[in-house]
Symmetry: C2
Subunit: 208 residues, 2 copies
Amino acid sequence: MGEKNLSIPTLKRLPLYCNIAQHALDMGKTLISSSEIADCLNIDSTQVRKDIAAIGYGGKPRVGFDSKELVKYIRNFLGLNKVNNVILVGAGNLGTALARNKGFLVQGINIKAVFDNDPKLIGSDIEGKQIVSIDNLQQYISDNKIKIAILTVPAFVAQETADKLFSFGIKGIWNFAPVNITHPKGVVVWNQDLVSNFITFIKFVKTF
Amino acid sequence: MGEKNLSIPTLKRLPLYCNIAQHALDMGKTLISSSEIADCLNIDSTQVRKDIAAIGYGGKPRVGFDSKELVKYIRNFLGLNKVNNVILVGAGNLGTALARNKGFLVQGINIKAVFDNDPKLIGSDIEGKQIVSIDNLQQYISDNKIKIAILTVPAFVAQETADKLFSFGIKGIWNFAPVNITHPKGVVVWNQDLVSNFITFIKFVKTF
């Protein structure tokens, strides 16, 4: 199966499998079965085996997966072994929280710079990440060959900011603003819909 | 199918279907097909029909779903027509951003109070939501019959805070701290793993 044919749900599960296998490894478990992975996520073990087969990893029949090999394989597949440089636009509370999150860098994701239009913020930094004026976006994206941006600006400027980002060469926006962003073909916007996630969680707790 | 048998992936898709049907309605589309919903989410239309059938909603064969009815049915199923009171613990950047997010209340989720241990914050408010001392958690949870908490404290106090919350009667924690929280049976912790989501997104953009 070509990479392009991997479904988004499969792509979403891969980092979770990787975390579970890493956790097993940290606990000294060198082998992990698809059922054990499935149980951690409340999904079917057939799904786990299908997903892992879809990225070309086999595992040993009856024995399970080698935890270390599985972590390595998925990390490599996801491109986590090299640094992915991204930018973040909007240094409000959420943007600041994301820029401070050390979990990204552990996974090879480097938030290289933070952009804002507030003169009081420009020139300062968030844990070593420079806050740059939004006026410098085009230059910075071009100089640093940035392809991915995290968008944490207020809703009312989200569309115009996204338009700029795409015109400057950004290929993917991870959007936290609660608006549907329209965009040209050939680029991607994913909405991180925290509200929907929380709705699902509340319903789950109620029926638990 | 009983509510307890609904899979988590189904539960996660329901709010998205609801958003899509609402968007269709806002655009004046009174009917929406499972294929149209599926296309918005890059999933199979069979999946959409299965999920919607699983919650007991039929739709009209060949004609599609009545957008308004579908929104109403899913909202009712998810309990969004009445207010769900929750608390948030940890008034840092992320906690503050979540407390400010007006999207929750639109969906009937009321972050009723915010808790922190910082004396400089206690007594102030975030957009009208009172910041209360963590020492008052037990009393507040009991007085207000709160069952669900959002956890946005630093990683190193996440486990002890979660232990307290469960002992005070909380049944579900939506956890943003980057740690695996151990918990007693009969309660639920969901990790909002932003880093994993972003990894998936980056991979998706690269293979797009």
